[in-house]
Symmetry: D2
Subunit: 299 residues, 4 copies
Amino acid sequence: MISFNGIFPPLPTSFDDKENLSPEKIQYNIRALSHYPLAGFLILGSNGELVMLSEKEKTEAYHAARQAIPEGKIMLAGTGGQSTRETIRLTAEAARAGADAALVLHPFYYKGLMDKEALMAHYHAVAESSEIPVLIYNMPANSGMDLGADMILAIADHPNIIGLKDSGGNLAKMGQVIGQSKPGFQVLAGSAGFLLPALSLGAVGGILALANIAPDECIQIYKYFLDGKLPQARKLQQQMIPPNTAVTRQWGVPALKAAMDHLGLYGGPARQPIQPMKPETKNKLFEILQHAGIQPIKP
Amino acid sequence: MISFNGIFPPLPTSFDDKENLSPEKIQYNIRALSHYPLAGFLILGSNGELVMLSEKEKTEAYHAARQAIPEGKIMLAGTGGQSTRETIRLTAEAARAGADAALVLHPFYYKGLMDKEALMAHYHAVAESSEIPVLIYNMPANSGMDLGADMILAIADHPNIIGLKDSGGNLAKMGQVIGQSKPGFQVLAGSAGFLLPALSLGAVGGILALANIAPDECIQIYKYFLDGKLPQARKLQQQMIPPNTAVTRQWGVPALKAAMDHLGLYGGPARQPIQPMKPETKNKLFEILQHAGIQPIKP
Amino acid sequence: MISFNGIFPPLPTSFDDKENLSPEKIQYNIRALSHYPLAGFLILGSNGELVMLSEKEKTEAYHAARQAIPEGKIMLAGTGGQSTRETIRLTAEAARAGADAALVLHPFYYKGLMDKEALMAHYHAVAESSEIPVLIYNMPANSGMDLGADMILAIADHPNIIGLKDSGGNLAKMGQVIGQSKPGFQVLAGSAGFLLPALSLGAVGGILALANIAPDECIQIYKYFLDGKLPQARKLQQQMIPPNTAVTRQWGVPALKAAMDHLGLYGGPARQPIQPMKPETKNKLFEILQHAGIQPIKP
Amino acid sequence: MISFNGIFPPLPTSFDDKENLSPEKIQYNIRALSHYPLAGFLILGSNGELVMLSEKEKTEAYHAARQAIPEGKIMLAGTGGQSTRETIRLTAEAARAGADAALVLHPFYYKGLMDKEALMAHYHAVAESSEIPVLIYNMPANSGMDLGADMILAIADHPNIIGLKDSGGNLAKMGQVIGQSKPGFQVLAGSAGFLLPALSLGAVGGILALANIAPDECIQIYKYFLDGKLPQARKLQQQMIPPNTAVTRQWGVPALKAAMDHLGLYGGPARQPIQPMKPETKNKLFEILQHAGIQPIKP
């Protein structure tokens, strides 16, 4: 059974200055981040602009990531589409490229129709057909839907569905899922903003945008927690909230990419219609990073 | 300048019982509905499961529709994607297939980043590159975002953006857009639930799921209104609200398809994870149709 | 049976510059507005800062209004509280003061518990005990809840519940309520932003914040509609949307009061924590009023 | 400086079977719960049906509570109203009755007007005039508004505002408030659903509906945490989520009162329009309590 203990960065997808996919830059970032004791990488999550890519580009991105991710590090691949057939197809592509597990965002466009029955049918069909294990992905800020504990527990009732990334930050729900799910079901925090509280409830780790630019700090919170050094964990957790907010809820993907450029990784542009950061906002961002003590990525 | 006066059905996309695209069934429905004095057809709107189709299928659907839509009837094509480049590409495909105008749902996945500036840049880039005129499409129930009047007016400020389909039902906003937009800007009601109130404010027509199954009634409300027969318009409008609710907000696409099967058109399945209607719900739906006096489609 | 045909201003509650209740100023405004052919007045609605008043002040306000409202004009009184017993008590106070009908905002603090059963029990208990007829009041922007058509129709099923003020602006719902409610049930638009569309669906009139400062225009839209002069009605309706937005959704009660001061009525302060308008915002407001052609109140 | 370390039950307000206030039953519950090492009691929070009471009843409830709360236990009093003047008056009443601190729910009816400036003015005026210290109370599920970290930090900038009860469950926000507020500012979890995660971030305790019926368990989670026994804390936390959900978000005040009756305290009815629990739902509730191992209150 694959273990997701630890910290995973959800890689942004790299584009050149004409917004064309740059597999080389994706690999450059993976290689640079591989110097840190991260548990693995997620390719094509929300920070990876999954919904911005063509069918062909998604496959290219899976392959590019796999080639660069070192042995012993887990490759998670985002494969959720709006239809069950597209999700099955993407999950098979990811498996073929060598992903270790698929992170499946639920369909959400037809919100009114996505009840427990529909989502169970969807996830179970995907899990049934997939050669790699499946994790549920709940991301209310983008999808406009929030999967409840009951729904998640019902979906989780398939042997090939082995975990959950929850980016919603409802910790009572997370506690309920951890407490009532089958043995071995692994829950991952979806944002560094609530990493420590999630660990305190039994989450096994996190898939954290912030881990792209502050891998040491994210790993350190996790280690302090494991070592029972709660005051230190709490202090570092509090320190990481402002930079995390800056690259997620506040300014999002372009801020994450600007921070990566600033710290020695490749950021580059996000795809239009996402706008580049304005210079004055970028300066505020850099001050927040500095104030939080975030250092350049090690060469 | 193309005129959108009148009633348009947003065609569901037809799938066979293996959920494969069936261009023939799309054409069958168009031909059957062409016996009614509809202004034209929308292919690949929200009812057309746009987000469920592969890139190739979208192009096939545009071509299938164009071949069946008679001369003199307008072909509107849904072409909105999450990235500007995908939207430009789809709009060009639709133009190549012979669409008369593109209906562009705004990007919405990165809700927090889709401010006025980003959406203006998006729409203006699409309009600039498109050979056919562009209409804005606001659909809050599915997108999880609601474009405000100020945003719509700013986006509308491009010569190749000529109208709006608003499915949100905020009539004060619709009135503000109609009152303050450039001369010739055409606003279309996005749901039969508020067709008459929208016409009373100056909307030129409607793109109405209900027009797939009750074309006569939708057209009649429009005509009564034009002829100043408000009491008759109001009575028919009120009568059409329950069946409209049933095939939209309440039970959605599978109900629309079930109603089409019931009334002599081709409905067929929606794509998974959308579930088929349960028999007892289907019976309730048919009672609602009957109670509203909706007749089978003319042969 | 009392008829609510026509236009009603929901009076702001007047306070002196120490924020004490000023019955005289309430009466001053009523007398000034009584020169216009308004159908009546609402005292203690959302614009009347109902939730800001002590128990004693509410009773004083009912009495002050009744003394000033001329014979032949209807007095509506807002009497909704969070508990059934308080609502019954307030409704009895309003009746004792001489109100013709009570406008009852539903309880909303315990949102999760306010289901159809609870609200039916509430409204029916109030209607049962009340000597004056009761209207339902739906105000989602303030209450954080939106009563659906089914719920309204269930509540309306009591002989002493005779109408609805809906400020939500969902016209499809309004159409359904009008089409399916018992004979004689009277629906009133709750905002001038959608007066004409509501009338087109069968609403009998409106309770409109804007009617405090533009009574002529609100009445004129209504008359144009009755006379079948739809183009004129539409033009005036569109013209009234910006000033209506300004004194409602955009800047609210302090803007309404500032506009009243500006136009020759008594506005005065709103109660803290509502802040006074900033001078520059006030200037924008006055420009909007001027641009819409709104004139000082007749002496 | 008063310390809020520990666990506080927010007492339901007791009514007899005619829904009249029963000060004796309030005191009975306080005396029974005083056998447990609770830090104190909150009278008139959301569970205390604050919005359901008359002005006179609120004062009576404050006095009743004070008489029964033993020396050495803190008395917190809910005193938030919609106007600043009412909140000042209620806070003075609570102080006069002997409350140790006031828990002030923010005004929320005029949501659109309750910006940072208005709420700062409100809280600072209350804090300025109050003889007892003030805590901010954020309760989005009932108020329909969610105070952000920036707003809370701005409000907290007054020497007499010394803490926060947050019932929203956004732990990233809670972490930001704890990390950035002035020294000595005390944050309390507002629900047992996220007690442990809140403690892990630096919260000093909790005001927990569940502490009315499971005081031992709530105190035990807190103690395990203080003693560094995280696995035990986590297990008990997970166990308490279902009963907590049952008496809060799922079935609310009537479930809390039914559970109190069931476990040997006085529950009694909630005020109408809150409906009594149906027998079959009550049985489900009792099963959940039993399954979680919750014992009758000690005599």
